[in-house]
C-alpha cells in the first residue's frame, strides 16, 4: 500500500500544527463557534447531538495493521473504547474532547493518516472496491488511481468551497463493488479497442434527497488526462452548479438540469483550453505511486485446500462462515475474507479497540499486514490462504468477529441515526438491531439468500437506502418516527434507485413489515431467484399487497 514520502508527511504535519492553533483560539474564546465551524469541518470535526465527532479518512478504505492499531489506541485513549466504520470507508469517533483533537490528529499523522476533507463542501475521501488488487475480475488495481486523486484533491485551492460536497469512487472491474453510478463522479477503469487502459467517466450520480444514476460523460479517457479532465469537470460544476438552494447544489442537479450532453460539451471545451501538460503528473509519478500497490509474490498453491475442506467437515459453523464470508481471489489457493461487523444485536460498523487490535493481528498473520474497510461497513482481509481459513476463523471467534452473514438479510447497512447524528430525523441502529434479531436464525438467513437492507435516519441517505434491495428511510412525521420502505434498489453495474412502497410505518412495525416482504418473496420466488430478481420480475404490486392489505 501507499507510504508517505517526506512531502506527504510535511503537508499533513503542517495541517495538524495549523489546527492546533485554531483549537487554541477557539478554547481561549478568540474564535466564535460560527468562525471556528468552517475550520473544524475542514479537519473532519463535526459538532453532533451530544459531543464532537471526528471523522478520519481511510483513503479508498485501505489501511495497514499498524494504522488499525493506532485507530484502536485512539478509540481507547480518547473515545469510549470503540469506533464506527462508515459507508464512506472511513472511521468515526463519537466522543472526542475538543482539546484532545489536535493530539489525535498528530497520532494519526504519525501513522500517515489524517482527517482532512472528511467534511465540508470539498472533494471527500475517494472510495473504491474493497477487493482491489485481489479480485479475480479486475482489469487493474484501482488504488493507484485513487491515491493520485487523493493527492490532487487534497487542499485543492480552487475546489475547497464548492457548492456542496463532492464524492468520487473508482472501480477497476466490470462488476461494480464501489457504487460508482451513485457518486458525483464515478470512474471505471476500462480497456479500449486498442487494448489501452483508461477511464470511463460517470458524472452526476448520487443518493440523498434526489437520487440519480450517473450518465457516462466521457466513454474513454486516456490515463494521463485524468487530473486535467477532473479539474475541468469540477470547474464547470463550481462555476455553474446551483448555489441558491443547498438541496439542489450537488452536481447531479446541474448535470440533470443542463442535460448530460450540454454538460459534457462544457467540460470538453474547458479541458481543451487547459495546459494539460502542467496539470497532469508525468508517467514517472504515476509509476511511482503504482509501485506501492504492486501485487505481493503469491505462493504457488493448489486451488483446493485440504485443510479447508477438513475444517468444513469438522465444524458446520465454520463451513457456513467460509462459504458466506469469502470472495474469489486472483491467485489460486487464496481468498479474500470479509469480517462481518454485523453481529446480531450489534450496531452495524462498530468495532471495539480490542476487536480492531485482533483484526490488525489477523492481518499481520494471514493477510500481508493490510486491511480494507468496505462501504457495507465490514472489514476485508484481501489475501488469505485457504489453508489458513480455519486458524483465522478461530482467531476471529475470540472477539465475536465471526458472524457468517455477509450479503445476507442481517448484513444491514445503517447510518448512526438519531442516536448520534445532529441531522437525523429518526433512529437507524435500533431498527437494524430489531430486524437482525428477527432474522437471527442462521438457516433461515441462508434460505432467504442475498438480500441487502440499508437504513438511513434522514433524507441525506448516508445509509444508502436508495440502493438497498430493501431500503428504509426514517423520517419525522409530526414528532413521531415514520419509516418509508423502498424496494428494488441496487448499487452496482445494474444500479437502480428503489421505489417507494407507499405510506410509512411506525418504528415498532418495521420488523414485521420486513418479515412480510421476505415471506412474500419466499412464497413467489422461482427456483434460484434472489429477492432482487423476484422483485424485478414480479414487480411492486405483489409486495405492496403483502404489507398494506388488511389482515
Amino acid at each position: 500500500m501507499y507510504r508517505y514520502d517526506e512531502f506527504d508527511a510535511q503537508i499533513v504535519n503542517e495541517r495538524v500544527a495549523q489546527f492546533r492553533g485554531q483549537v487554541a483560539r477557539r478554547l481561549s474564546g478568540a474564535l466564535k463557534e460560527d468562525e471556528f465551524r468552517p475550520l473544524r469541518l475542514m479537519n473532519g470535526l463535526y459538532l453532533q447531538l451530544h459531543a464532537y465527532m471526528l471523522r478520519v479518512a481511510i483513503p479508498y478504505g485501505t489501511l495497514s495493521a499498524d494504522q488499525m492499531r493506532q485507530l484502536a489506541m485512539i478509540a481507547e485513549r480518547y473515545d469510549r473504547g470503540y469506533g464506527h466504520f462508515t459507508t464512506r470507508q472511513n472511521i468515526q469517533y463519537n466522543w472526542p474532547k475538543l482539546a484532545d483533537v489536535p493530539d489525535i490528529l498528530q497520532h494519526l499523522a504519525d501513522v500517515e493518516m489524517h482527517a482532512i476533507q472528511t467534511s465540508g463542501n470539498c472533494i471527500r475521501n475517494t472510495t473504491s472496491d474493497p477487493f482491489a488488487g485481489a479480485a479475480a475480475d479486475e482489469i487493474e488495481d484501482p488504488r493507484p488511481t485513487c491515491e493520485l486523486i487523493r493527492q490532487w484533491s487534497t487542499l485543492h485551492p480552487e475546489f475547497t468551497f464548492l457548492g456542496r460536497k463532492f464524492k468520487i469512487a473508482v472501480t477497476g472491474a466490470e462488476t461494480d463493488r464501489a457504487a460508482i453510478r451513485v457518486h458525483d463522479i464515478g470512474i471505471q477503469i476500462v480497456r479500449n479497442a486498442d487494448g489501452e487502459v483508461g477511464y470511463r467517466m460517470f458524472v452526476g450520480g448520487g443518493q440523498g434527497r434526489t437520487p440519480m444514476i450517473a450518465p457516462v460523460i466521457r466513454d474513454f479517457l486516456p490515463r494521463r488526462d485524468l487530473l486535467p479532465w477532473l479539474e475541468a469537470a469540477l470547474r464547470v460544476y463550481n462555476l455553474h452548479g446551483r448555489r441558491d438552494n443547498k438541496y439542489k447544489a450537488r452536481i447531479k442537479i446541474l448535470v440533470h438540469e443542463m442535460g448530460a450532453e450540454a454538460y459534457a460539451k462544457e467540460v470538453e471545451e474547458e479541458f481543451a483550453r487547459m495546459d494539460r501538460e502542467v496539470i497532469a503528473p508525468d508517467q514517472e509519478e504515476i509509476d511511482r505511486i503504482a509501485a506501492y500497490f504492486a501485487a505481493p509474490a503469491w505462493e504457488a498453491l493448489p486451488e483446493e485446500s485440504k485443510r479447508l475442506e477438513a475444517g468444513k467437515k469438522a465444524d458446520p459453523a465454520f463451513a457456513r462462515w467460509a462459504e458466506t464470508n469469502t470472495h474469489a481471489h486472483k491467485a489460486p489457493g487464496y481468498v479474500s475474507v470479509v469480517i462481518s461487523l454485523k453481529p446480531i444485536g450489534g450496531a452495524p460498523g462498530d468495532a471495539t479497540a480490542e476487536q480492531m487490535r485482533l483484526m490488525a493481528s489477523a492481518a499481520d498473520t494471514f493477510s500481508q499486514g493490510e486491511l480494507r474497510i468496505t462501504h457495507e461497513q465490514n472489514v476485508v482481509l484481501a489475501h488469505v490462504k485457504k489453508d489458513d481459513l480455519p486458524s483465522l476463523y478461530n482467531m476471529l471467534k475470540t472477539q465475536g468477529l465471526h458472524a457468517a452473514n455477509l450479503g445476507l438479510v442481517t448484513d444491514i447497512i445503517a447510518c448512526p441515526g438519531l442516536d448520534y447524528c445532529a441531522l437525523a430525523t429518526a433512529r437507524s441502529i435500533p431498527v437494524a438491531q430489531a430486524i437482525a434479531q428477527r432474522f437471527a436464525d442462521e438457516d433461515r438467513q441462508r434460505e432467504i439468500g442475498p438480500l441487502a437492507i440499508k437504513i438511513s435516519g434522514c433524507i441525506n441517505a448516508c445509509g444508502h437506502h436508495h440502493v438497498g434491495h430493501i431500503g428504509i428511510l426514517g423520517l419525522d412525521k409530526a414528532g413521531v418516527e415514520s419509516y418509508q420502505i423502498t424496494l428494488g434498489g441496487a448499487p452496482g453495474e445494474d444500479a437502480a434507485i428503489g421505489t417507494r412502497t407507499g405510506p410509512g410505518f411506525a418504528f415498532e412495525e418495521v420488523p414485521d413489515v420486513i418479515e412480510k416482504l421476505v415471506d412474500r418473496y419466499l412464497a413467489i420466488r422461482e427456483p434460484g431467484e434472489t429477492f432482487l430478481q423476484t422483485y424485478r420480475r414480479a414487480g411492486m404490486p405483489a409486495f405492496k399487497e403483502a404489507i398494506y392489505a388488511p389482515a
Binding site: F7, H156, P157, F161, N238, D282
Partner: protein, 417 residues
C-alpha cells in the same frame, strides 16, 4: 475598504466608479461589467479595471482583457467559491493584470486566493475588524507545499518537487527532454528578453511552483529581489545564513525583505550536527576555506534546493573572468535549471536600476566592499581591482562551490554524483 496583497495591507490606488460618475482624468478606475459592456472603455482614465459578479461567464470577458489592467471578482460570501474558478479561467486566458477578490472572504482563504491567481483581496470594513493581521499571515504561511501543479504562488508543488528529486526535467509536448536540451531551448526562447519578463515566465509559465531565488542579500542583490517582488512576492527566496555573515548583511536582509514585501524568504542554515562535527571552533575557514564553504554553503543549499526544479541566481558576466561566458539558462550538477536573468547586465545598469526604483544599498558598499560574503573571508577592494578580488583574498579561490563555470564543477559537490 481594506486591501491586501500577498504581503499584507496595501494602499488602494483604484477608484470604483459609482453609477454615472465620470472617470477622473488619469485615474485608475474600476467599472461594473454592465457599464463596460454598454459604454465601452471610458475616456481619459489612467487605467481601467472591471468588477464582475461571480455568475459572469469569464469567457465573455476575453474581448476586454487586453485593455484591462484589473479584474475585480465579487465574493458575495466566503462560502461561495465560484470566484476561485473564475480566477483560474482568467489566468488561463493569459490575463496578466491585477486580479482582485472583493467580498467578505476569511483569512483562512488567503493562501487559496493567492494560489488560484488573485493578487489583491478587498474585504468589507466590518469583516476586516474581526480578522486579526496575524491570522492572515498565519494562514498564508501555514501551507508551504501543494499537491497541485500550475498554480500561482510560492508554495512548492509536490509533483514538481518529486520530479526535481528524481533529477528529471519537466516534459512538455509529450516528449522527454534532458535538462541540457531544456536549457538550450529556453536560451533560444528568451535570449534578449528583459530580465523581468524572463523571471515572470519562469515563475508562472516554465516552472510554476518549482522555482526559487537564491540571494546573498549582498551588494547588488536588491535589483533582482525587487524584480522578484514585482513578479511574485511569495516566490521562495533562499538566503544562506552561514553563521559567519556580517551583522550588517543580516540587518539589510531583514529591512530589504520587509520593504519589498517578500514573503517567501527562507533562512538556509548549516546543519548543526555537521558543524559540531566538522568545525566545532568555527575556525575551519582559516586552514581550509573550501571545506568551510562546503559545510556552510554548498551542502545546506543543496538540501534547500532539493524540492525545486529551477533556481534563479544574480550572477552577471562582468563579475569575474570565470563568469564571462555565463548563459541565461544553465544546468546545475544535480540536473536543475539555473536561471541568470541579469547575465548581461553590467554594474552601471544595475546601479541605474537601483536608483530608478529607489532601492537601498548594502551599507558596506560605501565602505569599500563591492562584493560581500562571509565576514572572515571578505576584504575591501582597492580601486581598479576586480570587484570580487576581496573574496578569499590571498588564495586562488574565486567561487564558493555552489556555482559551476563553463559546464564544469568548480569545486567538488558531494551530492552531485
Amino acid at each position: 475598504m481594506p486591501l491586501r496583497d500577498a504581503n499584507g495591507l496595501t494602499p488602494d490606488l483604484w477608484v470604483r466608479l459609482s453609477e454615472g460618475q465620470v472617470a477622473p482624468k488619469g485615474a485608475k478606475v474600476i467599472l461594473p461589467l454592465a457599464r463596460l459592456r454598454e459604454e465601452g472603455f471610458p475616456e481619459g482614465a489612467g487605467a481601467v479595471g472591471v468588477h464582475v459578479p461571480n455568475d459572469a461567464d469569464a469567457r465573455t470577458l476575453q474581448e476586454f482583457l487586453p485593455r484591462l489592467s484589473l479584474v475585480s471578482v465579487a465574493f458575495p460570501s466566503f462560502a461561495d467559491g465560484r470566484g476561485f474558478s473564475i480566477a483560474r479561467r482568467l489566468r488561463g486566458f493569459g490575463f496578466r493584470g491585477e486580479l482582485r477578490a472583493a467580498g467578505p472572504v476569511i483569512a483562512d482563504q488567503y493562501p487559496m486566493l493567492l494560489a488560484v491567481g488573485f493578487d489583491t483581496i478587498e474585504i468589507p470594513e466590518a469583516m476586516a475588524e474581526r480578522q486579526k493581521e496575524e491570522d492572515w499571515q498565519e494562514a498564508r504561511d501555514s501551507v508551504s507545499l501543494t499537491y497541485q501543479s500550475g498554480l500561482r504562488r510560492g508554495a512548492v508543488s509536490i509533483f514538481e518537487a518529486r520530479r526535481a528529486v528524481r533529477g528529471e526535467s519537466r516534459r512538455r509536448d509529450g516528449a522527454a527532454e534532458t535538462p541540457e536540451q531544456m536549457a538550450a531551448r529556453l536560451n533560444a526562447k528568451y535570449r534578449g528578453a528583459e530580465p523581468q519578463d524572463v523571471l515572470w515566465a519562469a515563475a508562472h509559465k516554465e516552472f510554476p511552483g518549482g522555482l526559487a531565488l537564491v540571494s546573498s542579500f549582498g551588494a547588488e542583490s536588491a535589483a533582482l529581489l525587487h524584480m522578484v517582488s514585482q513578479v511574485d512576492k511569495s516566490l521562495p527566496v533562499l538566503f544562506l545564513e552561514t553563521g559567519m555573515l556580517f551583522p550588517a548583511t543580516l540587518a539589510y536582509q531583514q529591512s530589504l525583505s520587509e520593504q519589498l514585501g517578500l514573503t517567501g524568504v527562507r533562512l538556509v542554515r548549516p546543519d548543526a550536527a555537521e558543524v559540531k562535527a566538522e568545525d566545532p571552533e568555527g575556525s575551519l575557514h582559516g586552514p581550509d576555506a573550501d571545506a568551510c564553504c562546503d559545510l556552510r554553503k554548498t551542502r545546506p543549499l543543496e538540501r534547500a534546493l532539493a524540492p525545486f526544479q529551477a533556481w534563479v541566481t544574480g550572477r552577471k558576466r562582468f563579475q569575474t573572468a570565470d563568469r564571462a561566458n555565463l548563459e541565461l539558462f544553465e544546468v546545475d550538477p544535480a540536473g536543475r535549471i539555473k536561471l541568470n536573468p541579469l547575465a548581461d547586465w553590467d554594474a552601471r545598469r544595475i546601479s541605474e536600476y537601483m536608483d530608478a526604483h529607489d532601492l537601498p544599498r548594502h551599507p558596506m558598499v560605501a565602505e569599500g566592499f563591492p562584493s560581500l560574503g562571509c565576514a572572515p573571508c571578505t576584504t575591501k577592494v582597492r580601486p581598479g581591482e576586480d570587484p570580487r578580488a576581496g573574496r578569499w583574498r590571498g588564495s586562488d579561490k574565486t567561487e564558493c562551490g555552489i556555482h559551476i563555470v563553463d559546464g564544469k564543477i568548480v569545486r567538488g559537490n558531494p551530492q552531485a554524483a
